[in-house]
């Protein structure tokens, strides 16, 4: 099993990554490009699991080289669990990427990062409701201080592929 960390640039993805893996990470250059991704290991239920910090991307329709790498990483790791890191302040934009990944059939865990910033801005997200609609684990985190990371890890095992039609149904349908 592999874990991919995906999300927009600057949502604290690397902070999450550092929290999960510790200091000693092996960095590798992705062949043929100048864009780096970072590989590391984390402990999950007593086993070492490979975790890859994928470059930030806004969507799965790549706009630049970095996003191409991100999409390629996702395609190459069909068996991966994706931790989708979302900036809690910009939930809608983050959800776009998360939904795309879900549609591709990957098991997803959502980390609502920068939860403290959202709190400060009086933005409140009903986590339970969101979980209910999406059918995937949703965990509020503050990666810089490590808050919520433990819960995030403990819920990775709950991730499973979700049919997008179910989400549409739960949310009350979509208009064409």
């Amino acid at each position: 099993m592999k874990i991919l960390l995906m999300g927009h640039p600057n949502v604290g993805k690397s902070a999450v990554f550092n929290r999960l893996t510790g200091a000693k990470v092996t960095e590798s250059n992705y062949p043929g490009t100048t864009v780096d991704y970072t590989k590391g290991y984390m402990r999950l239920e007593g086993k070492d699991v490979e975790i890859i910090d994928v470059p930030g991307t806004f969507s799965l329709e790549p706009k630049d080289k970095a996003e191409e790498v991100a999409v390629k990483m996702l395609k190459e790791n069909k068996d991966a669990v994706v931790i989708c890191v979302i900036d809690s302040v910009k939930l809608e934009r983050g959800l776009y990427l998360a939904l795309e990944i879900i549609e591709e059939g990957y098991p997803v865990v959502i980390a609502l990062n920068m939860w403290d910033v959202a709190e400060d801005k009086n933005i409140w997200i009903d986590v339970e409701k969101l979980e209910d609609i999406l059918g995937v684990p949703v965990v509020p985190t503050i990666a810089v201080s490590g808050k919520g990371i433990k819960e995030l890890v403990s819920r990775i095992k709950e991730a499973s592929p979700i049919d997008i039609e179910k989400i549409v149904e739960k949310a009350g349908g979509v208009e064409q």
């Binding site: 939860w115 400060d120 409140w124 997200i125 009903d126 986590v127 339970e128 509020p140 919520g148």
Partner: protein
């Protein structure tokens, strides 16, 4: 007095107080680095860890000053509480060690101190933090104001607090 007026007064008060604390801290740092000491009336800046005390006061002063902008905001209020806590640690430990030092009789004396010796342990000069201590207690009033303002939290939000 209106809420705003209360915070306005606090703002001016802690701006001035912060400057004083910052200044004393800076002087102590300078003395600590150069290894000198200063006595000024009933106040002295000397002794072990002068540099560290100076650093702590300097930062406490800086926290007070940085809280002036948006003073009523909870995060800014937290800063003045923390700065005051730092002064209380220094002053509290100083009082604690003064009390402990006043009790035993000393190397040549008996088991316990004489009454004169006991009183003499509490005489001037004192370190600056002891003078700053009473002025920093004003923060208690603002803690009280915050506590009153914290209620109520509505039900929906209570569920969402994830601590």
């Amino acid at each position: 007095m209106s809420e705003e007026a209360k915070f306005m007064i606090g703002r001016i008060y802690f701006a001035i107080f912060g400057l004083v604390v910052l200044g004393i801290g800076a002087v102590e740092i300078l003395l600590g680095v150069t290894g000198r000491s200063l006595e000024w009336g009933i106040m002295e800046m000397s002794g072990e860890f002068l540099l560290w005390r100076g650093l702590i006061l300097f930062f406490a002063g800086a926290f007070y000053l940085s809280s002036i902008k948006n003073f009523a905001d909870i995060h800014q209020q937290a800063k003045i509480v923390m700065a005051s806590l730092m002064i209380w640690i220094i002053a509290g430990m100083q009082i604690f060690s003064m009390i402990l030092e006043s009790i035993p009789g000393g190397e040549e004396g008996g088991w316990f101190n004489t009454f004169e010796g006991f009183l003499a342990s509490y005489s001037a000069p004192y370190i600056p933090s002891l003078f700053l201590l009473p002025f920093s207690l004003v923060v208690l009033y603002y803690i009280k104001l915050q506590k009153e303002a914290e209620e109520p939290i509505n039900q929906w939000e209570k569920e969402e607090r994830y601590e």
